[in-house]
């Protein structure tokens, strides 16, 4: 199969591209900025074709693209080739950082998806879509949230979640109009399941850095709130597998989640195992007043911690029977172990403090 991957230079996108190449698919990487593809483990994922026309099984090519532009800003010749040759599109391009203006999410996540669907609709032959959404379209939904659940009238924790909800809504409408698509909803993507290694320290990581260093000692939240962390390798291999089993899941949604969420209590218990990491005080949101924090702590809180508050108050429980069936015998380590590994990795490479000489040994020993 020939597969176009949007957002291919992103941490997840590159891993998906690699998994597809491993499965002997031909991969076209749509990249916003011209860059080398770097895998999660830091190794290069080399492009093997200079021209799209050379693309064959197990090979990899790239095109320049910008999802905010009509036709993704792809050159007419590339566009023509793609519409005639591509079998699948995996849409993993998205703005996932927190704390940006609403317009940014709207432009990249919502309009980007619209632009992609417009492009696909121009094709005379069917091109199938795997849309990467997020499990957190569940927003503030409390309790079980199934793979078939979508609009339960929930509210959202931030503009990112809202924008992903809106873009998924567009894809769902297209499915209703005949688009062949599968929606995949990962939860919070973290480091590799065995080593904790991660290429980009984003999302949860900056929060852990600030809290672990003791820069912010108190935050609003509930100890019984649940957070689902899913290792990047699990998500990437699952998405690549859907390409081969697309018909089984046509029109359906799958939750790429760990299935064993960690409570905020679990998270802080694991943090306590690392002498250099501070365990934050989790205070009831009703009584927590960030304006009373010391000035430096308040600055960190306003700039960063506040963006994540939503994750530490809700107790949504993602159900994932389809994705679990898809993954078959592949089983994740216990979520505490996953969290322990990601902290351990961050410490060894100096993200949560100064870099260490013995990092490589520690990685081997932990593995």
């Amino acid at each position: 199969m020939k597969v176009l991957v949007t957002g291919a230079s992103g941490n997840l996108g590159t891993e998906i591209a690699h998994a597809l190449v491993q499965a002997n698919h031909g991969v076209v990487c749509a990249m916003h900025q011209k860059a080398d593809l770097v895998r999660n483990d830091g190794t290069a994922l080399p492009l093997t074709c200079d021209r799209l026309e050379e693309l064959g099984p197990g090979s990899i090519a790239s095109i320049s693209a910008d999802v905010t532009q009509p036709d993704l800003g792809i050159s007419p010749s590339s566009r023509a080739w793609l519409l005639e040759n591509i079998d699948f599109v995996i849409h993993s391009a998205a703005m996932t950082d927190f704390g940006l203006k609403e317009e940014v999410y709207e432009e990249v996540n919502i309009r980007g998806t619209q632009n992609l669907l417009s492009l696909l609709s121009a094709s005379a032959r069917p091109i199938r879509l795997i849309h990467v959404s997020t499990a957190y379209v569940a927003g503030f939904w409390d309790g079980p949230f199934g793979e078939d659940d979508f609009d339960n009238g929930q509210e959202f924790g931030n503009p990112y979640e809202w924008s992903k909800f809106e873009s998924e809504k567009i894809v769902r409408a297209a499915i209703a109009s005949g688009l062949s698509a599968v929606i995949v909803r990962p939860s919070i993507i973290v480091g590799e399941s065995q080593t904790g290694q991660i290429r980009d320290f984003r999302h949860l990581y900056p929060l852990l850095r600030v809290v672990g260093a003791g820069r912010v000692r108190s935050m609003a939240g509930r100890y019984d709130a649940c957070v689902d962390l899913v290792p990047i390798d699990y998500v990437a291999s699952g998405i690549a597998m859907i390409v081969d089993r697309f018909e089984d899941y046509l029109g359906q949604t799958l939750h790429a989640v760990s299935g064993s969420p960690l409570t905020v209590r679990d998270l802080s218990n694991v943090l306590a195992e690392f002498p250099s990491m501070y365990v934050p005080r989790i205070l009831p949101p009703a009584t927590f007043d960030r304006s009373r924090l010391p000035s430096l702590e308040r600055a960190y809180y306003e700039r960063l911690v506040r963006l994540f508050e939503a994750y530490f108050v809700r107790s949504v429980e993602f159900r994932a029977p389809r994705f679990t069936t898809l993954m078959g015998p592949v089983r994740l380590p216990d979520s505490r172990t996953v969290f322990r590994r990601l902290i351990g990795y961050g410490l060894r490479v100096g993200y949560f403090g100064p870099a260490n000489v013995g990092a490589e040994q520690g990685r081997l020993a932990d593995a």
Binding site: S276, M277, A365
Partner: protein
């Protein structure tokens, strides 16, 4: 099985002097009469007497090879004509499996060999070097499968690894500024290297305590023996320590042991299970196993917060932004308290150290016959401030250490009569070490420090005066080259034991090894402590060190339903051979060398 034809014995070699063979024959006849064993394939004499190291006080160790269905975990003990006789019963298939296990580890390389326990090697060696008293084709087949050449390479490597680990630890203690512990570990390394040296010359008896006899018997450069005892007997000052350790490494090299790591950059701090860190206001608290909490002073807290696991100690010290000497001291303390572990950079060497003394100012509160509570009124119900598990494991360790003390005393008597002054020296030194371990146990310290460094650490017990601590250190290095030394040494050690008894506020153990009644009473105390400890923790693992409570559990398990021993008027013995049948990896450097001859 047939009567022994001594001329036909392939195992007897001319180095061994097995005195009093007729006595052995008579003891065996009597033992077999009492036991009435069916289906035996043969009987062998093993242990120190078979090895040629026996003396008047040595136990006579018989091994009976049976059809099965399974080996008895623990030997039966009987006293015959004033001699203590131990009879082990092993089934032929277990003997064959055990041999395959040991020799298989040899093919598996260093890590597999290091993972073998002293007990496992000892069992193999005892059998492979036993004297056949009742022969049969099965016994010969089993002996033929005990490849002594291959075992020689395994034993040599095992002792060498043990020596390297102990010397690594000595260097670590040097960097930590703990010179007494450093010297103590290096002594241990030298003895292990000596064992590797004599093993290369074919002397494979596993236990350390007859090393000097092995030196003398082996075809060997005798100056190495002299250098070893000279270095073992030294107590370097802090200034002399680095040079001393260097000399020791040279000797180890001459004994064929190389590979010690001497640099703090090669030692990493690694996590210890069950340790978590919590902040209470400005205070840093470290919680262990959710039962014990340590509050850190400001410098200690800063150093603690600078710890990143899998980082060289040298790097953590730099990161702490405190005085380097203070940082070393703090890390040493964290290690000693069991809050961290350290590992050498090769990744397979792990060190564990015991917990801190949890000393109540009221004095010692554990004894072999129960808890000591000051001024316990008849209607009082006293609550101990020390966790129950710690108290009960201490009790079990107390019993164990007491038994080992008895054993060292018995050895002393035997070698004194033989006028073997170097062995008199080591048995007196062992008496001092075990007495110190008893002290730790009496104060509820569990797990206690390793036997190698107990003398260096008894000053941590407030009830121990500086004078007594100094005396322990001196006596641990007591030198004995002639009868006058032996007499003086015995007097001093007895005086030391007396002071220990005064501190713990009671007698030491019954004379377990001399009379059946004393032995029975020792066992009863052991059972009671062991039973309590096993109720508290059915896995009976104290701080990852399964010793000795697990052995006490074995003792219990065997004795429950063991009515035959009672019927024939003997006690089931679980003395220093506790755990003999148990398989499991231990770090040889931390293993206590306390096996019976």
């Amino acid at each position: 099985m047939s009567e022994l034809n001594r001329d036909a014995l392939p195992m007897l070699d001319d180095r061994r002097d097995v005195t009093g063979t007729d006595d052995v024959e008579n003891l065996l006849t009597e033992a077999l009469r009492r036991l009435r064993l069916p289906n035996a394939y043969g009987v062998l004499l093993e242990g120190s007497v078979a090895e040629g190291f026996g003396n008047r006080t040595s136990d006579i160790d018989f091994l009976i090879v049976t059809e099965g269905p399974q080996s008895k975990r623990l030997p039966t003990v009987m006293f015959i004509d004033g001699r203590r006789v131990e009879i082990r019963i092993r089934c032929a298939t277990e003997i064959a499996d055990h041999a395959a296990h040991i020799l298989g580890a040899g093919a598996g390389g260093g890590a597999r060999i290091a993972a073998l326990s002293r007990d496992e090697l000892d069992i193999f060696q005892r059998f492979s070097h036993a004297l056949v008293l009742r022969d049969s084709p099965v016994v010969r087949l089993l002996l033929a499968a005990h490849d002594r050449e291959l075992f020689k390479s395994i034993a040599l490597r095992w002792h060498a690894l043990r020596a390297i680990r102990a010397s690594n630890r000595a260097w670590l203690m040097l960097h930590f500024g703990n010179s007494e512990s450093s010297a103590a570990w290096m002594r241990n390394a030298l003895v292990a290297a000596g064992k590797a040296g004599v093993a290369a010359a074919g002397e494979l008896y596993i236990t350390d305590k007859w090393l000097d006899l092995q030196y003398r018997r082996a075809t060997f450069d005798k100056t190495l023996r002299e250098r070893m005892w000279s270095l073992v007997g030294q107590r370097p000052t802090e200034d002399e320590l680095t040079e001393h350790l260097g000399k020791c490494l040279l000797l180890m090299k001459d004994l064929g042991v190389e590979g010690s790591q001497t640099d703090l950059n090669e030692v990493q701090i690694v996590p210890r299970a069950g340790i978590t860190t919590w902040q209470l206001g400005a205070q840093v608290c470290v919680l262990r196993d959710r039962t014990e909490i340590y509050v850190l002073g400001s410098t200690a807290a800063r150093v603690w917060r600078s710890i990143v696991f899998w980082t060289p100690i040298a790097q953590v010290i730099k990161r702490g932004r405190v005085d380097e000497k203070d940082a070393r001291e703090c890390i040493e303390r964290f290690h000693r308290l069991g809050l961290i572990e350290v590992a050498w950079a090769d990744g397979d060497t792990w060190l564990r150290m015991g917990a801190a003394p949890m000393v109540l100012p009221a004095g010692p509160f554990v004894s072999f016959d129960g808890f000591r509570v000051a001024q316990l009124g008849s209607k009082d119900v006293a609550l101990f401030a020390v966790p129950a598990a710690r108290l009960c494991f201490s009790g079990a360790e107390f019993v164990w250490a007491s038994m080992c003390l008895e054993n060292a005393w018995e050895d002393f008597i035997g070698v004194y009569e033989q006028k073997h002054w170097k062995l008199v020296q080591t048995s007196l030194q062992r008496l001092v070490s075990w007495a110190c371990l008893i002290l730790f146990s009496a104060f509820g310290v569990s797990p206690a420090p390793d036997i190698q460094e107990v003398t260096a650490r008894i000053d941590e017990i407030p009830a121990v005066s500086p004078d007594l601590a100094a005396e322990a250190l001196r006596l641990r290095l007591l030198d004995c080259d002639c009868e006058a030394d032996a007499i003086a040494g015995r007097k001093e050690v007895e005086a030391f034991l007396h002071k220990v008894k005064e501190i713990i506020g009671g007698r030491l153990f019954p004379s377990s090894f001399e009379h059946a009644d004393d032995w029975r009473s020792s066992l009863e105390y052991g059972f009671e402590w062991g039973r309590l400890a096993s109720f508290i923790d059915p896995t009976l693992s104290a701080d990852g060190r399964s010793f000795p409570v697990e052995e006490v559990r074995d003792m219990l398990a065997v004795n429950q339903g063991e009515t035959r021993a009672e019927a024939i008027g003997v006690a089931t013995y679980a003395g220093n051979d506790f755990g003999r049948w148990r398989r499991g990896a231990r770090d040889p450097s931390t293993e206590r060398d306390n096996h019976r001859p």
